[in-house]
């Protein structure tokens, strides 16, 4: 298998969610002299973008997209130490978390993976995150974007507080929201800068927010 064939195989196994084969192929590419950043842009990003499309086309559902994310993460595990040298190439920094009172992390994790695949630096605060932690972390990391997720209506209401607190504190981060009960009109009503209805859209929104 030559290098370009190995790249296409890597794309295929990430799409197929094969988390055993994916890191092996990445190692092979490194051995053949390809650099880590190029592996991300030539294989990981297009693979995860295709996964996002398959989800939107209703070919893929959560288990399939989750396994692709795992395969991608297994590749990143190998590439990350090598990518640290290339920090300047991040397209932006995103603070990500699930609102307080909510522990539904699947959607948030997929967004994190897709953002990483698209070249963003992701600071993942995890689940059940209080409003202040979003804000404090955004300040600490000088984040470009805060991404807040919720699956439950009872926790979704914290998004409004995040927007308000960010305004009062005068931080520069743009705010995007998403998750089960969240809609574009809800996002507009609380003054959020962006809304993504799924992980793929979230990446598109993040890219748009970076353009100003």
């Amino acid at each position: 298998m030559n290098q370009s064939e190995t790249v296409s195989s890597l794309v295929q196994v990430i799409i197929a969610g094969n988390r055993k084969a994916a890191p092996e192929l990445a190692k092979k590419l490194l051995q053949s002299g390809m650099d880590a950043y190029e592996i991300v842009t030539a294989a990981c990003s297009p693979a995860m973008e295709r996964v996002g499309e398959l989800y939107q086309e209703e070919e893929y559902f959560v288990p399939e997209i989750l396994m692709s994310a795992k395969a991608f993460e297994a590749v990143m595990e190998i590439l990350k130490p090598l990518l640290l040298e290339a920090q300047g190439q991040y397209s932006g920094t995103v603070i990500l978390g699930v609102c307080e009172g909510d522990i539904h992390t699947i959607g948030k994790n997929l967004v994190a993976t897709m953002l990483e695949a698209a070249g963003f630096k992701v600071i993942d605060l995890g689940k059940d995150v209080p409003v202040d932690r979003f804000i404090d972390s955004a300040v600490e990391y000088d984040a470009d974007i805060i991404g807040a997720s919720a699956l439950m209506t009872t926790s979704m209401i914290a998004m409004e507080d995040i927007v308000d607190r960010a305004k009062t504190k005068g931080i520069r981060s743009k705010i995007m929201v998403g998750g089960g009960p969240v809609t574009q009109s809800y996002a507009d009503s609380i003054g959020a800068d962006g809304y993504g209805k799924d992980a793929k859209e979230a990446v598109d929104v993040a890219k748009r927010l970076m353009e100003g």
């Binding site: 969610g17 559902f61 959560v62 288990p63 399939e64 989750l66 396994m67 795992k70 307080e100 009172g101 909510d102 522990i103 539904h104 992390t105 699947i106 994790n109 689940k127 059940d128 439950m152 209506t153 009872t154 926790s155 979704m156 089960g180 009960p181």
Partner: protein, 334 residues
């Protein structure tokens, strides 16, 4: 739900969390106190007068028995912290449930017996709980279960088998006391999470088994899957369920078209946008519309589409119930 057209559209709140919060019960301790729970439903029946008195078993009880831990926020639903089963091998080590050793199950049985004795003749006693396949995602954890659906299908079947068996053991005394309806959820089967193909392959048979088992005791079976279930609604109806409880994003006229007249629909007011954030007038308008679409010829119970947030205002619940009692008389004339 028996087929045929009743005097009017029945209405049910299908939620205990809201009722308990509204009547001042703390959700963390409520489920241990049979007498207080019965007292609260007596109050709800007096103040709101819905057709169904809901006996419920909290979503935390069965998973907690096996070791899952939770955090209870001041308002809102319990949050899963650590699942009982984090690795596949841990499933085999679990001892099957023994209801005599569980305080909350015992309280639920006492509370249920009190409700059936007190309301059994005049009201529908509607037992509502998380179903065995929802519990499976709380004995393990949803994301882990999703991974296993692809990589470890045999484990998923073992997990479902174990969870269905546990559920039957826990629920049997409730069926024996003579509740009218058993309403359970099968939430991880939602097309918002998994493909219709996967639903048919892993979930459907267990859902059908549970429904047949409920029927053996003479109760009606209702089951609920969250989200837009249109793509699996025919499969859901083929389980033999008497009623399908449906979420607000499902187009009820399309659902009715897909399943025919035999199966009742239960729903589908939007718990967040209408019941929690809407005005009583919004609730009345949504209720009238739901009855017209879902219940023109019977086979319909007006209810929230999914669990009602504890912060939902009581005027809105009253508006839902009053709309059914005032305008729901058959034939619908408004």
């Amino acid at each position: 739900m028996s087929g045929g057209i009743p005097d009017r559209v029945p209405v049910s709140i299908v939620s205990s969390a809201w009722v308990f919060s509204t009547y001042g019960l703390d959700l963390q301790t409520a489920y241990k106190d049979a007498e207080r729970m019965t007292e609260v439903w007596r109050g709800f029946n007096r103040d709101f007068g819905a057709d169904a008195i809901v006996l419920s078993l909290s979503s935390t009880v069965i998973p907690s028995y096996f070791g899952t831990t939770w955090k209870f926020p001041k308002s809102g639903f319990p949050l899963l912290m650590e699942p009982a089963v984090k690795e596949m091998s841990e499933l085999e080590e679990l001892q099957q449930i023994d209801p005599s050793k569980d305080e909350q199950l015992q309280a639920c049985y006492r509370h249920g017996t009190q409700l059936v004795e007190e309301f059994g003749d005049e009201r529908c006693v509607w037992f509502m709980t998380t179903g065995p396949l929802s519990n499976a995602a709380r004995i393990t954890e949803t994301e882990f279960m999703m991974e296993c659906l692809i990589e470890e299908p045999d484990f998923v079947r073992d997990l479902f088998r174990f969870s269905v068996d546990a559920w039957k053991i826990a629920v049997k005394p409730i069926l024996e006391m003579g509740v009218d309806v058993v309403d359970f959820s099968s939430s991880p089967g939602s097309p918002d999470l998994i493909s219709p193909r996967m639903y048919r392959e892993f979930f459907w048979e267990f859902d059908r088994e549970v429904i047949q088992w409920i029927h053996e005791y003479g109760a009606k079976a209702v089951f609920h899957i969250c989200g837009n279930t249109l793509r699996i609604i025919e499969d859901m109806a083929k389980t033999g369920a008497n009623g399908l409880s449906i979420d607000s994003m499902l187009d009820m006229s399309l659902a009715r078209e897909a399943i025919g007249k035999k199966t009742a629909l239960v729903g589908n007011l939007d718990p967040a946008n209408i019941l929690m954030n809407g005005t009583p007038d919004d609730v009345i308008a949504a209720s009238l519309e739901a009855m017209k679409i879902g219940g023109i010829n019977g086979g319909f119970v007006l209810a929230p589409g999914c669990d009602v947030p504890p912060t939902c205002p009581r005027e809105n619940i009253a508006a839902m119930i009053n709309t059914a009692t005032e305008y729901g008389g058959y034939p619908l004339t408004y």
